[in-house]
């Protein structure tokens, strides 16, 4: 196949760009620990409320500047639906659904995850700026989907 010289240059640049994008994703994920939410834990979706830690949803301090938030999503609410966190603390979220798929998106941050029945989703976030963060369900979950929201208050 005959290729024009400009075309070879263009394709070299194109391929480099794609390779850089992938390498960058890899470095972010594995070297910097900023991978996407990828919890691999599992749970019986019909027994969420009686399975630890979801038998006791809420915010728990686990070390000086670290918190764990255990959360249940169901049509059309979050439990708990308000959480308070000191600014600068690292928060580990553990989430699952008791019914259909939901989304968990903290507006104004990169925190965005799918929550599925049967799976325990995990995500980590440090809230540096104090304020009130709106959290919405961003996966259609039924007739009350547009009402499904909660608040994270960072002090």
């Amino acid at each position: 196949m005959n290729m024009h010289r400009y075309e070879k240059i263009w394709l070299f640049l194109a391929a480099s760009m794609l390779v850089i994008a992938v390498v960058y994703s890899g470095v972010q994920t594995f070297a910097l620990g900023q991978g996407p939410p990828s919890g691999v834990g599992m749970i019986d979706p019909e027994k969420v409320e009686e399975t630890a830690p979801f038998d006791n949803p809420g915010t728990f301090q686990i070390s000086e500047n670290e918190y764990e938030v255990v959360m249940i999503l169901r049509a059309f609410s979050f439990e708990p639906n308000v959480i308070e966190i000191p600014a600068g603390a690292t928060v580990h979220f553990k989430m699952t659904s008791t019914d259909v798929m939901h989304g968990f998106q903290v507006i104004g941050t990169n925190l965005n995850a799918m929550i599925m029945p049967g799976h325990i989703q995990e995500a980590k976030q440090t809230f540096k700026k104090p304020g009130e963060y709106l959290v919405v369900c961003n996966e259609y979950c039924g007739v009350g989907h547009q009402l499904m929201s909660m608040k994270i208050i960072v002090k």
Partner: protein, 557 residues
């Protein structure tokens, strides 16, 4: 090569091609554009609702409307269009469809319509407000899934009709390359068939579950099978549009093919690298390790490569034509293009929109960027410019010559002018709507959500001005929609009688011979299946073996 040229030039004199084939494809196009009109009007209702301007009744609520809009446009309009277009391509470039293939075309159409009626009736009756993604464990009426299965069966019949046509033609033309546009058709029919295998497996699991014969469903497995098909469909529209860019647009502007070989290589690359591309819809899903996600990010990224080849090829063709017409400098060709010719203008704008569209696609493949926009209105904006402009405006552009060619009529200067107006209204409408969606999505506004203030949240209130752009865009698009439907039916039944050419660009005089290996479809299919296996076998086996207890059905609307 020479033989093909001689043959296609002979056929292009026979405007309208085979009368029986034209009747088939015109019927497809008619139904496709009526579907577009209905689906588009439903889109307007959503835009108005989302902007807070219109309250929808409870018995025909936002989510029902959205489900119908998605299914009618994403599945019905696009599939009918793609099949009709490629059947007319096969008929034109291969001297008519074989009778058995024509029959398969009709059977496919009837089958798909039966399926669509079943699907849409269930949506309208409120038994299936589950979106076109129908993620379980949300459970629609079992008949909704049965309808989907019938639609897919119809698609398969059309795909096998395409395979039959090409196989029979090759038997009669030993040693010849199949015509370039038919080569695209082959690629598209392969993707239609293999790409829909995953979703068929999913639907076959959902049917007994929805009837209550099985108790639970593997949610993760269903979702993954869905996306193995979901993104392949995107690339089917794209490959269809690309066929018009490579083969038709150069002819319309008075140029030649970029390179027959390179074009075929682009088709092969798009076909083999396609199916695993859907995984990027699952970057923020649980249940999958980061390693698998990265492998798939890489596999999705590969699709960007043939797209960038296309970008180069197209601008090269423009520059070459411009130079021939006396253009100077790197961008001198811009002044030499026939901007007033809608057959050029529409696909050209489509291509320009592929620059931000393609870039947005690449962005979504990266983990962190995906997290920023996942399930926000940004994504909706992205596919409204990729599908709604890049693909659909190219499709519209083809209607100005393909419909008159099929109906043995002509495009008058007045109709061309109306076409230009339609194209501009459509473009401006999309700029408003998709632009608003991209912006407000970056601010966090979620997709697939009816109008809401989230309990008078100040954050949500800050989205309102942008959401108004959705309504403005929606109104403009509706005007564009009515115009295109008018134009299509006018060209079909009322335009002046005459002959219209099916524009197919020829290769350069000094073009090198296309190598024989491009025709080895069996090899490409095996490579494709190997790549699909590489992408999917491990995660699917893992999802089946390490599955959590399944989910019972829920009806939440």
């Amino acid at each position: 090569m020479e033989a093909i040229e001689k043959q296609s030039s002979k056929i292009s004199k026979l405007s309208g091609g085979n009368r029986l084939d034209s009747r088939l494809t015109l019927t497809y196009f008619s139904i496709a554009f009526v579907t577009l009109l209905i689906g588009g009007l439903l889109g307007l209702l959503q835009g108005l609702n989302r902007a807070g301007l219109l309250e929808l009744p409870t018995n025909f609520n936002y989510y029902q409307v959205l489900t119908a809009h998605g299914i009618l446009l994403v599945l019905v309009f696009s599939v009918l269009f793609v099949i009709a277009y490629f059947y007319s391509v096969l008929s034109h470039t291969m001297d008519g469809l074989f009778p058995v293939v024509r029959k398969m075309g009709w059977i496919s159409l009837i089958t798909m319509l039966v399926g669509v009626v079943l699907v849409i009736t269930n949506v309208v009756m409120g038994n299936a407000s589950v979106m076109y993604t129908f993620y379980p464990p949300m459970k629609a009426s079992p008949w909704f899934y049965v309808g989907l299965f019938i639609v897919v069966a119809g698609i398969w019949i059309a795909a096998f009709g395409g395979f039959t046509q090409i196989a029979k033609w090759r038997k009669r033309h030993r040693g010849q390359h199949i015509p370039l546009l038919a080569f695209f058709a082959m690629g598209v029919f392969i993707l239609l068939f293999f790409g829909s295998l995953g979703v068929t497996a999913e639907v076959l699991m959902l049917i007994p579950w929805a009837f209550g014969w099985t108790e639970t469903i593997n949610v993760m497995l269903s979702r993954t099978l869905f996306w193995s098909f979901g993104h392949t469909f995107v690339n089917i529209w794209y490959l269809t549009a690309v066929s018009l860019w490579y083969v038709v647009v150069p002819k319309v502007i008075g140029g030649r093919l970029f390179s027959d070989t390179l074009t075929r290589v682009v088709v092969i690359l798009l076909v083999v690298s396609n199916i695993p591309g859907g995984f990027h819809h699952q970057i923020v899903d649980p249940g999958m390790s980061e390693g698998i996600k990265l492998t798939h990010a890489l596999m999705s990224m590969v699709i960007g490569f043939p797209s960038l080849m296309t970008a180069f090829a197209m601008f090269f063709v423009f520059a070459r034509v411009g130079k021939k017409k006396g253009a100077k400098g790197v961008f001198g060709w811009i002044k030499k293009m026939p901007w007033g010719d809608v057959r050029f203008l529409a696909p050209m704008i489509a291509m320009i929109f592929f620059i931000p569209g393609g870039a947005g696609g690449i962005a979504q493949n990266a983990n962190q960027l995906n997290q920023v926009v996942h399930n926000s209105l940004w994504v909706v904006g992205h596919f409204h410019i990729t599908v709604g402009v890049t693909a659909v405006l190219t499709f519209f552009g083809a209607m100005y010559w393909l419909i008159p060619y099929l109906s043995k009529r002509t495009l008058t200067p007045a109709m061309n002018k109306l076409g230009v107006i339609q194209t501009l209204i459509w473009t401006i409408g999309m700029v408003f709507m998709a632009g608003g969606m991209h912006t407000v999505g970056l601010l966090g506004a979620p997709r697939r959500t009816s109008y809401t203030t989230y309990g008078d949240s100040a954050t949500a209130a800050s989205w309102d001005p942008y959401l108004l752009l959705l309504a403005v865009g929606g109104v403009l698009l509706t005007i564009g929609l009515v115009l295109i439907v008018y134009i299509v039916f006018n060209l079909m039944f009322f335009a002046p009688k005459g002959t219209t050419e099916f524009p197919i660009a020829q290769g350069e005089d000094n073009a090198s011979e296309t190598p024989k290996w491009t025709e080895r479809w069996s090899v490409w299919i095996i490579i494709m299946l190997f790549i699909v296996a590489f992408g999917y076998v491990f995660p699917l086996v893992d999802m089946i073996q390490n599955a959590p207890p399944g989910s019972p059905p829920f009806i939440t609307w």
